[in-house]
Subunit: 140 residues, 2 copies
């Protein structure tokens, strides 16, 4: 179950996101939706849908990587609130959303999932966002 | 900041939930909404809105209590999926939702927040649910 070589990213996640960084447990992937800064962590563990299905050590690594990501988003964007969630109703492969929310964003205070239409980044803006995240991670 | 005696539950959370159990870090509270088995963890730490604002030790305790709650919900309800989320767009005090989801529930696969009308439990059903949760926690 824990053989990292057997991990394959879900095709829907592959289509919706771009890889920003590859951490010890998780891939760090930017949702290609410019409406919100929105990053997901995908543990590179095959066959897992729930956090409690991870081994204890993996659970704690996931927490640490989630906190690292949260601190980077906090420093970069100074959000009103982070929305952190493991849902998986549509894509079952375990992935943890980290969405930067502002009081004047498209749907605040509602959750972002399944609402409105995805607005992919312009290429320059996508590159700039990935670069900013990468630098923020390096500084932590 | 970490003085537990200074912790006060947010009045909205107080109104929407009932106390099931008092754990080391968190209050375990059942959302009084019979549409979904829905339990929140509220860390008894004043002034905290984000997981990454907790001390490292508190973060790891939160993870452990979240996993304990998740395993109990899994054993009690055999859900299709758990939805675990720290949102806080409406109530800022840190609280982590654990919602048991089924493919035939009221709004699946959408998230539950802010959708439809709350259906408070009948008193007997509320007591039965609290009791079942308490027993499940004791067995873990």
């Amino acid at each position: 179950m824990d053989d990292p070589y057997a991990f394959e990213l879900d095709p829907q996640l592959q289509a919706d996101t771009v890889l920003v960084s590859d951490w010890h447990l998780c891939q760090v992937r930017l949702m290609n939706d410019s409406r919100y800064p929105w990053v997901i962590l995908v543990p590179k563990v095959p066959g897992v849908a729930e956090i409690h299905e991870l081994a204890d050590e993996q659970q704690h690594l996931l927490l640490e990587e989630s906190v690292r990501l949260s601190k980077a988003l906090d420093q970069l964007y100074s959000p009103h609130k982070l929305n952190i969630a493991a849902l998986g109703n549509v894509v079952r492969q375990l992935h943890i959303h980290h969405v930067v929310r502002f009081e004047d964003d498209a749907v605040f205070p509602n959750p972002v999932w399944g609402v409105g239409t995805v607005q992919p980044y312009e290429p320059d803006k996508l590159a700039e966002t990935v670069s900013a995240l990468t630098i923020a991670f390096d500084l932590l």
